[in-house]
Amino acid sequence: MNTVSVKNLTKFYNKQKALDDISFDINTGEIFGIVGPDGSGKTTLLRILTGILEKTSGKISIMGLDIDKDYEKIKYHTGYMSQKFNLYPTLTVEENIKFFAGIFGVSQQEYNDRGEYLLNLTGLANFKTRQAKNLSGGMKQKLALISTLIHKPDVLILDEPTLGVDPVSRRDFWQILQEFSQKGTSIIVSTSYMDEAELCNKIILLFEGRIIIKGNPIEVKKIDNTVMELVLLEGKNIDDNIIQKITPFVVDISFKGEKIRVILKKDGKESFTKEFNKLFHINEISPSIEDVFMREMGK
């Protein structure tokens, strides 16, 4: 069943186009990734889905409800976590959760069951009485997550939830998300981390307000461009001259330590190898989402 359905969504800020003809569907229990660089329209899209921002045109339905007609009802089905973790710094962990429970009309009984479960799941049970401002970044993020989950939303909307959080907390966080998706919560998550994109069931790549790629991460990575990793041979030096020679062969070039990563133009593998095998060790590698993204943006 489609929990979220977006058709031909467009958003203008004054005359500036922020979102251009966005369409996608999300099924029950799917993790839906919105990937894109800063300013690509991720936050705008999420804010429209939560009802904080109004769209310019298009159709959106969430849990079968039309956002134009039943916007107030939709709010009970969604949980939204904004980029800054949604916390009251002087309130304790428990008070923060209780506040959101109160706002959503969660009964005491439900709160007891669900609150305990969420606190244990995230490992925050021991910090119930700590003020939110005294939590670490990772704990803040988890508290924010609990606050948005306390009313059992069918659709969870997360705006770059792992921004500025340490790698261990990031991994924990994604495990929690996966647990909830298995229980049937649809999760919409925006991210600029490409490795997180690979953990989603479905992704869209957003660039300048348009969807440039849509699909599941495995399909998306099936591109016909070759990705090569180059390492300089002994005694060779790299200079601008060489870079200039490489440029016509590639759609993207990036430097990672001693390695140079290039995405070749279509069918350019042989000619490239011929040209540069005296200068580099050349290794073909499997493309990542980032490569796909770079190729698309390079078009």
Binding site: T50, E72, Y76, Y80, M81, Q83, K84, N86, L87
Partner: protein, 381 residues
């Protein structure tokens, strides 16, 4: 339909935030007391101890008697260093060591004895108009008093029965503030200023703070309506505001011995209406401003200054230009001030007697709250 569980959740949250926020606590409890202490002493319209230079060219027992009358009134302190030295006195006036110079002419006694008019020269520093006007007023009263006494003596010495002598003196009676103490007049004014400051300042911070915390976005994504948001957020401040009114009133009565002749219910009723106005204004600032500092500045200029300058606290509304008088209808402190002065100084003042003020306060508070909720609704982010 309002949902009371949501309102209660907002109320509780807001209350805990205020109690845990040091800045708010200072605004709530320390600032009112400090303000009433400082202003209760400093803002006084009773002018005493005006420094005066004296030139006595007559130097007779009569002229010394006149000087004595002025000095013993307690309103003037003679500048003795420049006694009878005109140049020194003028210098002193110029550097603001003294405010007034009086010159008693050579023929003071002689003319008085002949029954002729006597003129005493009085030079006043007008650069501080308030002091000058009041000082001159004192001198006039003291002088005519002195003159009357001389007349009486003269009449007596001629053997005429003074009771038959046509002698008219005004008998002035002051009601409500018999001692004409300006603290009695100022403390009520201070209460309204302090309330405006506390209530408007605190609320002006609330929504901006949510916006800065990023929590505003979440609140907006929840089913909370803007009416629920306003009610839930404002109720704690109404309670705090009423506590503050009582605190400051108590201070005024116990510390400054201001009489409290009305009743406490009337006071609380009008305080409630006034706080509602102040909160509405604060809420409006809060929903317009982007940063806490901005909200504070806006509150100062649009809520605090008018309630000091345009409310009749410092300058009577009647003496303002017409255009500004119209503007002052929107200053809630104007009504509250009337009410407070009545409650403090007049007996048996009831809510019904002050119905005009009540209606105006209700109208102004509704105006601000409605505009604030419209702005909140419109400016979602």
């Amino acid at each position: 339909m309002l949902n009371f569980q949501r309102i209660y959740a907002l109320f509780k949250k807001e209350f805990v935030e205020i109690v845990r926020d040091k800045r708010s606590l200072v605004i709530v409890f320390i600032m009112p007391i400090v303000m009433i202490l400082i202003y209760g002493y400093a803002v006084t319209f009773d002018i005493k101890n005006i420094d005066i230079g004296i030139i006595d060219r007559d130097n007779s027992s009569l002229s010394r008697g006149y000087i004595n009358k002025i000095v013993s009134s307690g309103y003037f302190i003679p500048y003795k260093d420049a006694y009878n030295n005109m140049d020194e006195n003028i210098k002193a006036l110029r550097r603001e060591r003294i405010k007034v110079i009086i010159v008693i002419p050579y023929d003071f006694t002689a003319n008085l004895k002949k029954g002729k008019d006597v003129q005493i020269q009085c030079i006043v520093d007008g650069s501080i108009a308030n002091t000058a006007i009041i000082g001159v007023g004192y001198l006039q009263v003291l002088t005519s008093n002195f003159a009357n006494n001389i007349k009486m003596d003269f009449v007596k010495s001629k053997g005429i029965n003074s009771k038959k002598f046509p002698y008219i003196s005004p008998e002035i009676r002051v009601w409500y503030n018999q001692e004409l103490r300006s603290t009695n007049f100022i403390v009520p004014g201070l209460i309204s200023t302090i309330m405006m400051l506390v209530a408007a300042l605190l609320t002006s911070l609330t929504i901006v703070r949510e916006r800065e915390n990023g929590t505003y976005e979440e609140i907006m994504s929840t089913p909370v309506t803007s009416a629920e948001l306003i009610i839930g957020k404002l109720t704690p401040y109404i309670i705090i505001g009423l506590i503050d009114v009582l605190l400051v009133t108590l201070f005024g009565v116990l510390w400054f011995h201001v009489p409290f002749r009305g009743n406490i219910i009337t006071l609380l009723f009008f305080s409630f209406l006034f706080i509602l106005c102040a909160l509405g204004m604060g809420m409006l600032m809060s929903s317009i401003a982007k940063k806490q500092e901005e909200a504070i500045m806006m509150t100062f200029f649009s809520a605090l200054l008018p309630s000091i300058l345009l409310s009749g606290f410092v300058f009577p509304v009647e003496s303002m230009p017409k255009a500004i008088q119209v503007f002052s209808y929107f200053v809630p402190a104007r009504y509250f001030l009337n009410v407070l002065r009545a409650i403090f100084l007049k007996q048996d003042v009831t809510i019904l007697m002050l119905y005009k003020e009540a209606l105006f306060l209700i109208a102004v508070s509704i105006f601000f709250l409605v505009v604030a909720s419209k702005v909140i609704k419109k400016r979602k982010l």
